[in-house]
Amino acid sequence: MVRTGEIYGINGPVVYIKGNTEFKMAEMVYVGNERLIGEVIALDKERTTIQVFEETTGIKPGELVEATGDAISVTLAPGILNNIFDGIERPLSEIAKDSGAFISRGTKVSSLDLEKRWETHMTVAPGQRIFGGTVICEVQETAAIVHRCMVPPEVEGEVLRVVPDGSYTIEEPLVVLQLTDGTEKELCMAQKWPIRIPRPTQRRYACTKPLITGQRILDTLFPIAKGGTAAVPGGFGTGKTMTQHQIAKWSDADIIIYIGCGERGNEMTQVLEDFSKLIDPKSGKPLMDRTTLIANTSNMPVAAREASIYTGVTLAEYYRDMGYDVAIMADSTSRWAEALRELSGRLEEMPAEEGFPAYLASRLSAFYERAGMMMNLNGTEGSVSIIGAVSPQGGDFSEPVTQNTKRFVRCFWGLDKSLAYARHFPAIHWLTSYSEYLGDLAPWYKDHVSKDFVDCRNQLVTLLNQESSLMEIVKLIGSDVLPDDQKLVLEISRVIRLGFLQQNAFHPDDTCVPMEKQLKMMQVILYLNAKAKALITMNMPISVLKQENIFEKVIAMKYDIPNDKPEMFDAYMKEIDAFYERVLEKNA
């Protein structure tokens, strides 16, 4: 029997039902004659509270609410990649076919294509004992990615029958197995999973491999590990979205889930256009082949915005279970927090700081804790990394969302307004940012990049810190009065800032830089520093050093040396030697 209730009251995205309805907490419901999707968020004897994921305009009291018995969940099967969904996994391109350019309400489209037949290779045989996580078949989902369909986590049993390899839809039964209690169960490619519950794993590993992004300030100065978490806070116009786009384009993750949560429609269109054209350097296939977009733009219903973050992380965990490294871009978690605030306000809950509900911190931590490098149920290793943009009100990092996020992430890439105003991009400020992964990743850098990588990196950071304290003096009395060795610190720091930290996302080479080039660039800059310092200690004035164009030359090396010609750096080393000799000769 279908459990139903009658709508009693409506207030924005929140709908009330009077009386005891026997609905379950977090259950998915259909609301009203248009059967809008909703979720039960509070229950008591007198009334049931439901949040609706679509516009509630035109709903009347007295219309029916129908229970579905399931929690809000997503369908997991081939067809997720190279697709764009709204916050509750409804494909936007199908919605467009159904309702035209504008998203109307109550659209009935299935999450994934149910008609499409996938070329399937079965990987289990009758008699085999299988359990949650066992791969039952493989499907080439896109040119770049093999989709491994798995047994749902809580199922276990012995395979009775298996279909032969061939083409099947995602709902056709492929495997019949006998459960431990003797009953038979059919498995197909598709499985459902509630978005608010993390998919189970065996255990968590320490994060020891970096997520290489090709962005110098990230990879070298503030690296994030595979399975790690990072926050990118910044006021408007400081480049949060650009940073996220760059990581989504160039990072060495296998799968990218890009969540546009309460952001601009045009931005999602841009991602869709760009990623279809751009080629993934690793696989040689279009970037969209490894990407899923979840678009809940700022004018789409607020409850679905709240759900979009969970939808994204659930899809990510599913691909992690197949043994892939997945990276989530959540742009922006502040919009999600504001959705929480908005709904909390409608429910007349007691607000904590700045109107945000008191459970903001626990919701944030629950979300970020779903990241990690895991041993999956089937023994494979996979990771989910979360990179969340934060849009602090007024660019002020002391607001509750930034502060609470800071407690649960281990990487903090603080974007700075004054850098953005001077069009220094990426505008990640080297003094406010940090990464706690550096220690964990040091062995990897030592083995895979170079022994002295971490050492070089630390020297760079030291120079930048010295520069900042010297700038305090310069601001008061000008740079002319500084001794020459301190002037050199300023000059080298300028080289670091312009030549190394600044990176041009629109330059074909500079947009993504391999680790080897990053290391070489660092070495050249530090070599220049060492040689120039030697000259200064011999009482050569800095003005003589600056007459040579070597500093400008080193700044320009990011453009002048193509990514695939690291041997060209040797010429720079020689040139620095020549510069040293020249200065010595001239001033002997």
Binding site: K60, L92, G235, G262, G345, Q393, G394
Partner: protein, 459 residues
């Protein structure tokens, strides 16, 4: 047939409550007749089995608990639309106030609009020439963009907007179908008159549709004005294939009205007393800009807002900046120096600029030149700060050059004659001339090839 309900159960500011209603739906429009004479419109904002809370668009003066008749319309707020709306003037809820009669049309559209599907959006790429160097050169306006003007009281934002609309619409491709939708929320009579005159003088008033909610008009009406205007804009753009420029002024009044209504509804406030849904509500307005695949029209939005106390971190400009695709910020200091338009270039930004300029759109050097001007002008700020401490004479030679560059930049690049309409090439050439004030090694944002082609130092 329609049932009329006699009397009310509660009146509280702009909100009234009606008990014992049947079949009311959320966001439905109702008509309220006071004493059998005066008519007001209202909208249902909360709705229970036998009670509805109604927001009245007019005034609740003279209403009592017994003298009103309330009629449910059975549908959300709608307006009739046809191309006849061009050249007409309406009030804040879309009723004609120019004495030329009702709009007769079968086409009626729900003013609440629906979110545009990101899949059918077309990424905006064609730039609009506004004739202002500071905008064309550094924060280029793109067709289909939403680019607000952040201003303050007493700054010439109205003049800027009027001139911008005039020059943009009469720009290089005036043969295409264009129109202007102008929505005023809580603006002064003078301001509305100024715009009307400006449109008449520039000869575009046949292409302008005005929606006016003036400062002494009912506050609640303001909440619906931008939605009515954008519904008209979307109709003209996507169904009639026109290029629409929408000017919304002043968004601050809109947000204030929202706060007023929210507080009388007894809602829990978030920042500075504004309701928690301020962001969502602003987004439903700003996001109604763009281009749709397969439609020849576009909606470009230029909202104007006055920053309370010139504070850009105030919730209204702050949330706006997070939704819109950039912003043009006006500066009191430049205005004080008699520079027009007083655009503060550093905090100004156009997010869509990067894809709409360069070779094939404007000129190959545009992006590099803009980056360099931004970066050099940021250094001017540092040099000025230092000069204010140690005096201009003590500055190093290079800092002095930056000071000279800064002055020239503000006067010659940002500043221009009122009514001067510069072409994009003029703008770029002025930019290069100013960069000539700086030595070549300071220009670190420009590709070497471009630098060689365009840079010439001047003494």
């Amino acid at each position: 047939m329609s049932i009329q309900y006699l009397g009310l159960s509660e009146i509280n500011g702009p909100l009234i409550a009606l008990e014992g209603v049947q079949n009311a739906s959320y966001e439905e429009i109702v008509e309220i007749i006071i004493d059998g004479k005066k008519k007001e419109l209202g909208r249902i904002v909360e709705c229970y089995a036998d009670k509805a809370v109604i927001q009245v668009f007019g005034s609740t003066d003279n209403m009592s608990l017994r003298n009103t008749h309330t009629k449910l319309s059975g549908h959300p707020m709608e307006i009739p639309l046809s191309t006849d709306i061009l050249g007409r003037t309406f009030n804040g809820i879309g009723q004609p106030i120019d004495g030329l009669g009702e709009i007769v049309s079968d086409i009626r559209r729900n003013v609440n609009g629906q979110p545009m599907n990101p899949v059918v959006r077309e990424y905006p790429r064609n730039y609009i020439r506004t004739g202002f160097s500071a905008i064309d050169g550094l924060t280029t306006l793109i067709r289909g963009q939403k680019l607000p003007i952040f201003s303050g009281n007493g700054l010439p934002h109205d003049q800027l907007a009027a001139q911008l609309v005039k020059q943009a619409s009469l720009g290089d491709d005036s043969d295409e179908k264009f129109a202007i939708v102008f929505a005023a929320m809580g603006v002064k009579h003078d301001v509305a008159d100024f715009f009307r005159r400006a449109f008449e003088e520039s000869g575009v008033s046949e292409h302008v549709t005005m929606f006016l909610n003036l400062a002494n008009d009912p506050v609640v009406e303001r909440l619906i004005t931008p939605k009515v205007a954008l519904t008209a804009a979307e109709y003209l753009a996507f169904e009639c294939g026109m290029h629409i420029l929408v000017v919304l002024t002043d968004m601050t009044s809109f947000a204030e009205a929202m706060r007023e209504v929210s507080s009388s509804k007894g809602e829990i406030p978030s920042r500075k007393g504004y309701p928690g849904y301020l962001y969502s509500e602003l987004a439903t307005i700003y996001e109604r800009a763009g281009i749709i695949h397969g439609s020849s029209g576009s909606v470009t939005q230029i909202p104007i807002l006055t920053m309370p106390n010139d504070d850009i971190t105030h919730p209204i400009p702050d949330l706006t900046g997070y939704i819109t695709e950039g912003q043009v910020v006006l500066d009191r200091n430049l205005h004080g120096q008699n520079i027009y338009p007083p655009i503060s270039v550093l905090p100004s930004l156009s997010r869509l600029m990067k894809d709409g300029i360069g070779a094939g759109y404007t000129r190959e050097d545009h992006q590099d030149l803009a980056n360099q001007l931004f970066s050099a002008y940021a250094k001017v700020g540092d040099a000025r700060a230092l000069a204010s401490v140690i005096g201009e004479d003590e500055l190093s030679p290079i800092d002095k050059k930056y000071l000279a560059f800064g002055r020239a930049f503000e006067e010659e690049f940002v500043g221009q004659d009122p009514n001067e309409n510069r072409t994009i090439l003029e703008t770029l050439d002025i930019g290069w001339r100013l960069l000539g004030l700086l030595p070549r090694e300071e220009l670190d944002r420009i590709d070497t090839k471009i630098l060689e082609k365009y840079y010439s130092p001047q003494e």
